[in-house]
Symmetry: C2
Amino acid sequence: MATSGTEQDTRGVPLREALRRTTMIESLRLRTSLAINVTIASETFQHTGSFKFRAAYNLARTVPNDLLITASSGNFGQALAYAATMLSKRSIIVMPDNSAQVKVAAVREFGGIVEMVTTTVKSRAARVRELADEHPDAYVASAYDDPLVIEGNATLGVELAAYDFDVITVPIGGGGLSSGLIKGLRGAGSKTRVVGVEPAIANDAARSLKSGAIEVNSAEPQTIADGVRTVSVGKHNWAILKDELHSIIEVSEDNIKDATRKLMWLANLKAEPTGGVALAALLANPDMFTGQNVCCIVSGGNVDPEVLKEILG
Amino acid sequence: MATSGTEQDTRGVPLREALRRTTMIESLRLRTSLAINVTIASETFQHTGSFKFRAAYNLARTVPNDLLITASSGNFGQALAYAATMLSKRSIIVMPDNSAQVKVAAVREFGGIVEMVTTTVKSRAARVRELADEHPDAYVASAYDDPLVIEGNATLGVELAAYDFDVITVPIGGGGLSSGLIKGLRGAGSKTRVVGVEPAIANDAARSLKSGAIEVNSAEPQTIADGVRTVSVGKHNWAILKDELHSIIEVSEDNIKDATRKLMWLANLKAEPTGGVALAALLANPDMFTGQNVCCIVSGGNVDPEVLKEILG
């Protein structure tokens, strides 16, 4: 497996050119409803429908390996598959064999090779290790715990540094987006506060911030926000978050669903539940944001039709 | 009632500054599904959630009148209400008393005075005439048949002229958007073909293009695309459309619903049914677009929750 680096390969167009800029959405009706001066930075129209493409492309372009392997049933798998395809590389995406068919189909549409694993028999991580042994020339990619991932996601921070926000709220799972956001903001000279947002039933990062060390959930928490079902933040992410994160707000599952509905009906924005997490902080703790210029990052829009319909009721 | 003009008033910020740029969306999954190189130009994140704000702001800013009156149960009412509010003017929006509560509430949120009319007793037009008599100083605004509306909507054509599209598809109701689009494109030197799209059950413009004169529906057609339920195109619009419109494609109600679903599930875009009309043309007549760079205009995103849920099934 290759180590990380930034000068190893220059295949494909540069990162900034490959990316789409985030979509800034100001909705008067959303602002009126919340009585908060909120702006949405939406990654739902990024390549493959989530911010994950920023990291995936940076990683796929930078490492010299022609084969990329990851375990992901979600947005990182789609993003890595497409990034590899754009760069004429190959990707193997390990997915549980009970993954939603639409997600499997999406990875294949983006050019990835899907490797199914029966998770009751073998863990995804174990299958990834097997594949890495079979393909010693491959790069095994983490969706968050990698400097190349943080560097890719930092592009969003650079974009948002150009605005005059007092505070940005961002969902925290493994910490890839939040740590990258902070790196990008600070690199561009911005002092905007970054507030992490976690489902209360997946609050390992909040506990970590209190204890001062990485805390780990005993199992993958079953929040509706499936993009933040990680057992802990990554080490590379924690190194940034522990010093630079202003605070973490815990939100209920109802807050997340309500935020997802508000985005849909008041801002015309289709978000996945994880995409509603950052806005949910304004519902859970409005006093913290009153009178501030607030930006909420909507991390992605790829939601199973049945899940979205259930949220819309 | 004042006549139209462009040099009468300079209140408020200029049109180009007041507007949000259209949102360009490229979805690989949508392109793969259609086998057409399609790009979406979405007006769903424009102020008030539809392209109508372009016209409403231009009109409200240009006329000297401090009071604006229109009949609209849809997007133009919301747009005019908000444009008037931005310019410290007043607006009266005449709405049928059986309008959806969410639409009435939206007009009020944007600062409009809602004037209900029982349409079984009195037509909306008759109520507007009464109000115009009561307020001789008011400007009575048409949603489409006014040079100021066309000029406002032309800003979208100017934006799209910067891209290299072979053809742009656009919904046709009263013809305000399509005529404005053409005016903007041609003014900016673009020769991009403009193809109108109409629900087959509301095909007055298609019939007009064939006969060479404005044809009128006997009643407001009950298409699910409620933004194009007009009985005919306007005279000012027709003057542009009759010479510059490439053709009109008629689409079924099923095409419209299918297009709205594809925008949602393949491009993460929440559109109202009228917003799905332009894409529906690619479903109804794919051969016409194969091998072309096609842009479909999604005119707006404000859909009643119940209607959207029914479309999503």
